[in-house]
């Protein structure tokens, strides 16, 4: 310990005496470790951290699967069969997201909620922080009780214990608050209020004739807790066997489909997991480049310390002792870099959280805690060994006789290992730059996609209706009244109703069967995107009517049911004109028009077959209004709020967004990924440039006598300039060649995240290589200029 303490003390002192070296090394390490820490904390919070419940690995999401896809939505009858016949789960529950209007206590509030079945809290086993939760064994379906979130408890009740037992009106129904869940209870959906369904399944938003026996309408999700004595394999077998039985008994709806279970933690983040690991890998590259940079600095420092190390050897230090001291210095440097890195990580994380799109799941669970600190510590130690080992091995073998004689000035310059470091840095930077280049190109192409609808001067306003207060006729009546009032105002004269909003993330679909056409195998997609609209929607949104007519006021509730299909749906009509054909969407409807295609799911999903139903015949309580206006979101919201208040003073309006916001949000994840990768690549480029600069600078300093001789023998300053630049570019070319090979292999990993962009796009590879070579040449410029100005007389005298 005494020797170690001594080494640490000497290390600190020597760093203090070399402030330039220490500053550059610490900044480099802080950026590398900070970036890695920040991304790791996101990966940890989103992907790695277990859900905050007892035995979280036993909580699963139940899903429906066929040969091609996995679907998390259940119908009532399927769910009830699974719940009854699957014994491996100690509890199974169903839930669906709900919009809750909370009244009876201050201002009316609209909050996100979840309507669940009685066993919901049995699955999660999370204790409430106040009161109690409802349970399958003790609470009857439909009991007017609710559990609220810690956030709502704090905001509405000031965390008073008296909140428990209070009666509030939830969607118009007097309901007793029985408990409060902790802030960490946010799965599988974020909610402020959990209510108990009156049925054994959540209530359907769409009226169904067959209620609990329906297998057509899938609208809620199911979760289950695995029995402690059961293995997941057994549970999956049971689910499969229920699926096989239902496929036999109900081939119309269940053919080729079965059931499965996925760990809930995995299913929540399935969409972002791959991208996050890639980002962690990318920032790991930055850390490696930082290590190579610091290793290069240490080697240069080692060269400058050859006299000192020779003296230490001469007075008795063996190689192990020198290695120990040099490694202690590296670890002290890494420790300081790690400390700064943790601070930088907290700062970078704050920035990332502000930039991250809202739709990254579990993002609220991201924090810099002991797990992240442990990771940073481990990374710091690994980094210390990584960047310290090669320089220590090199420096601990002094050429004693020479080094003592002239302080190492005339010994071998030993830039070989540093050159390897620089080549590695350039190669790693190139890989990151190509990754960023691919992502940015992909994003640009994605943003240039024509979505098929107007992309400016459109404002969307959600007009969700609480089902408890609004029956189907009342919903129709409300929406008609709202539309009438809006069209009467010049600001909102061009308004139309729509469910769902384009690029809003809805997955509403319907079975799609054309009368007289052969039935398609169920393995093929026989679905169409389901939309409910008002007359005038197509003109407002900018879709073209290709054939037939738009909806009119004549398409009322009592008129024959009609539908408009899009261009992509034409294929299902066997080459005939769709106009006049009948389509089965659960009920038979007649096609009266064909409109142009529009992308609804996302910009990178090609237009799918879609059907548009008039809201007057098929209404949903989730409609919204789309307004074509040049007045902006604020003015539009005012008018909509007034129109709604005129109809229902207790009804708040939902989110107000411009079409630009909807498009921007839909590209949030690719934009975030591209931004991060571009930032890492820029940092890598900077570090690589510093690495090239450092090596060439050092090499020029070492070669001053040689350059002096060259100049004395008649070399022109430009020849010396070219000699120095040439050396740097030579290393960069070697790095680029290796980097291109690595990038071509690594780019396959990001292939799934790219839109219309080849992972081996030659233009991107060429441009990025050229950029890197130019930067490397620029990094050599200053030392090359210095080399040009070497005075042969001074250089030779110093020799």
């Amino acid at each position: 310990m005494g020797v170690l303490g001594q080494d640490i003390r000497y290390a600190l002192r020597s760093f203090r005496r070399a402030p330039g070296f220490t500053f550059v090394a610490l900044i480099t390490l802080a950026l590398g470790i900070g970036g890695t820490t920040a991304i790791f904390s996101i990966v940890d919070g989103v992907v790695l951290r277990p859900l905050p419940y007892p035995q979280p690995e036993r909580i699963h999401r139940l899903v429906r699967v066929n040969a091609r896809s996995t679907d998390g939505s259940f119908s009532a009858a399927d769910y009830l069969d699974v719940k009854r016949d699957t014994k491996a789960f100690v509890s199974i529950a169903a839930l669906r997201e709900d919009i809750i209007d909370l009244t009876g206590r201050g201002e009316p509030q609209r909050v996100p909620g979840a309507q669940t079945t009685g066993g919901f809290f049995d699955v999660f086993m999370a204790p409430p922080i106040a009161g109690r939760v409802y349970r399958e064994a003790t609470d009857q379906p439909g009991a007017a009780v609710a559990v609220i979130s810690e956030r709502l408890w704090r905001q509405q009740f000031g965390r008073e214990a008296g909140a428990i037992g209070t009666k509030v009106r939830i969607n118009g129904t007097p309901t007793e608050i029985i408990g409060v869940m902790p802030a960490t209870f946010r799965h599988p959906v974020v909610a402020d209020v959990w209510t108990l369904s009156p049925l054994e399944v959540p209530v359907s938003p769409v009226p169904t004739d067959d209620g609990l026996s329906s297998r057509d309408v899938q609208y809620f999700m199911a979760v289950g807790r695995l029995d402690e004595t059961a293995a997941i394999g057994a549970a999956r077998e049971q689910l499969k066997s229920v699926g096989a039985r239902l496929a036999r008994e109900f081939p119309d709806t269940n053919r080729d489909r079965t059931f499965d279970a996925q760990p809930l933690a995995e299913s929540l983040v399935a969409d972002v997991r791959g991208a996050l690991w890639i980002l962690l890998g990318a920032v790991g590259f930055v850390l490696l480049i930082a290590c190579a940079n610091v290793a290069g600095l240490l080697m240069a420092r080692g060269a400058a310390r050859r006299r000192e190390l020779a003296v230490r050897t001469a007075i008795g230090a063996d190689r192990g002792r020198l290695m120990q001291q040099l490694m202690t210095e590296s670890l002290v440097l890494a420790g300081a870099g790690g400390g700064l890195g943790l601070l930088a990580g907290a700062w970078i994380l704050q920035g990332l959280m502000a930039l991250a799109p809202d739709n990254i799941p579990r993002l609220n669970e991201v924090s810099l805690d002991w797990r992240v600190a442990a990771f940073t510590l481990a990374a710091t130690m690994a980094v210390g060994v990584l960047f310290g080992l090669a320089p220590a091995m090199q420096a601990s073998q002094p050429e004693l006789n020479t080094d003592l004689k002239d302080g190492g000035r005339s010994g071998t310059t030993r830039t070989g290992a540093r050159s390897v470091m620089v080549v590695a840095q350039v190669a790693l930077a190139l890989v990151l730059l190509i990754g960023a280049g691919l992502m940015i190109t992909s994003l640009a192409r994605l943003q240039a996609v024509d979505p098929g609808f107007r992309t400016t001067e459109l404002v969307s306003v959600e007009l969700l209706l609480p089902q408890a207060r609004y029956s189907e006729p009342l919903q129709r009546q409300f929406y008609a009244g709202a539309l009438e009032r809006l069209r009467a105002n010049p600001v909102t004269a061009r308004s139309a109703l729509i469910f769902p909003f384009p690029l809003g993330g809805s997955n509403a679909r319907a079975d799609f069967e054309v009368e007289g056409q052969p039935e398609r195998p169920s393995s093929e997609d026989a679905h169409a995107e389901l939309n409910m609209v008002s007359d005038g929607y197509f003109a407002t949104a900018g879709l073209r009517l290709i054939d037939g007519r738009d909806f009119t006021v004549a398409d009322g509730p009592d008129a024959p049911p009609v539908v408009i299909v899009n261009d992509a749906a034409r294929g299902a009509f066997g080459g005939r004109s769709p106009i006049g054909a009948r389509v089965n969407l659960g009920t038979w409807v007649t096609v009266v028009g064909v409109v142009s295609d529009a992308r609804r799911q996302s910009l990178d999903t090609p237009p799918q077959p879609a059907v548009y139903l008039p809201y007057t015949q098929f209404v949903m309580p989730y409609m919204g209004v789309l307004v074509q206006t040049g007045q902006g979101a604020g003015a539009t919201a005012l008018v909509v709020r007034a129109a709604v208040a005129d109809l229902d003073p207790e009804l708040p309006i939902g989110e107000v967004k411009t079409i630009e916001q909807l498009i921007s949000e839909s590209t949030g994840q690719p934009r975030f990924r591209s931004f991060l990768l571009a930032a890492f690549a820029a940092l890598a480029l900077l570090l690589a440039a510093v690495g090239v600069y450092g090596l060439i600078s050092f090499s020029v300093a070492q070669r001053v006598p040689e350059l002096g001789v060259r100049l004395a023998l008649g070399a022109s300053p430009w020849q010396v300039f070219r000699l120095v630049i040439g050396r740097g570019v030579q290393l960069a070319v070697a790095g680029v060649i290796i980097g291109l090979a690595v990038a071509a292999a690594a780019a396959r990993l990001v292939g799934g995240l790219l839109f219309n962009t080849s992972t081996t796009d030659p233009v991107i590879y060429a441009c990025v290589s050229l950029l890197l070579l130019t930067i490397a040449a620029l990094a050599c410029y200053v030392p090359a200029r210095r080399a040009m100005r070497v005075d042969p007389m001074t250089a030779l005298r110093s020799e």
């Binding site: 005494g2 000497y10 020597s14 007075i315 002792r321 006789n401």
Partner: protein, 222 residues
């Protein structure tokens, strides 16, 4: 104490070979004070570094006490060197980042001497060399003579039986040089064997014997 037999050192340049030392045979007894002299390039420092085991690329036989240095592994040579040898350089070679105290302490820490013992030994040396007041200064705060004094203190602190000095007064003015040579004389009188490389007849006069080298050969020994 030291027996050298047919020590040779050479460098190869392609097919040709340049000799730095040729068939050097010498014997140095315990308590000797030997000066190695000769013109520049004669091989004086090379011979000293071979004696100090800083150089291992040579042929011949070198015995130090009962240890056949020519047969020892690098590790064993390091052990023998730590046990017997102290080195003084012309340019002092104090470590700039360490104080006077820490510089003197360093050889002891490399010999795994316990901290409590080291403190006593360093305090004793500081006292003997009369540099207690300078113990917290850094080398750049000392004059050349003071730096060489510290360097000698560092060389003797581990109580070596042999001190090798490479032109120890080469960078000092006359008065400081005399002081250092007096110090070597006192150390020698105390029983320490001293081998120095010097160009100065006056310094050589402090010793008991002179070995003259020329072009790598011993040309004279008295």
């Amino acid at each position: 104490m030291i027996k050298l037999s047919s020590i040779e050192k050479s460098y190869r340049h392609g097919l040709s070979q340049t000799f730095v030392l040729r068939r050097v045979n010498a014997e140095i007894r315990q308590g000797d004070f030997v000066s190695i002299m000769g013109p520049s390039g004669a091989g004086k420092s090379t011979l000293l570094h071979i004696l100090g085991m800083h150089d291992s690329a040579w042929t011949g036989e070198y015995w130090l006490f009962d240890d056949p240095i020519h047969q020892l592994s690098a590790k064993d040579r390091m052990r023998v060197q730590k046990q017997h040898v102290g080195f003084v350089f012309q340019s002092y070679h104090l470590l700039d980042n360490l104080t006077v105290y820490e510089n003197i302490d360093l050889p002891l820490s490399y010999r795994d001497v316990k901290k409590s013992e080291r403190e006593g030994m360093v305090a004793d040396i500081l006292d003997r060399f009369n540099i207690v007041g300078k113990k917290d200064l850094f080398p750049n705060q000392l004059s050349g003579g003071q730096q060489q004094l510290v360097a000698i203190a560092r060389a003797v602190v581990a109580k070596p039986s042999l001190i090798l000095a490479d032109e120890p007064t080469g960078n000092l003015h006359t008065d400081q040089g005399k002081e250092i040579m007096e110090l070597f004389r006192r150390l020698n009188e105390g029983g320490t064997t001293i081998v120095q490389v010097t160009h100065s007849q006056a310094n050589a006069a402090y010793g008991k014997r002179v070995i003259n080298l020329k072009d790598g050969w011993i040309v004279d020994e008295n």
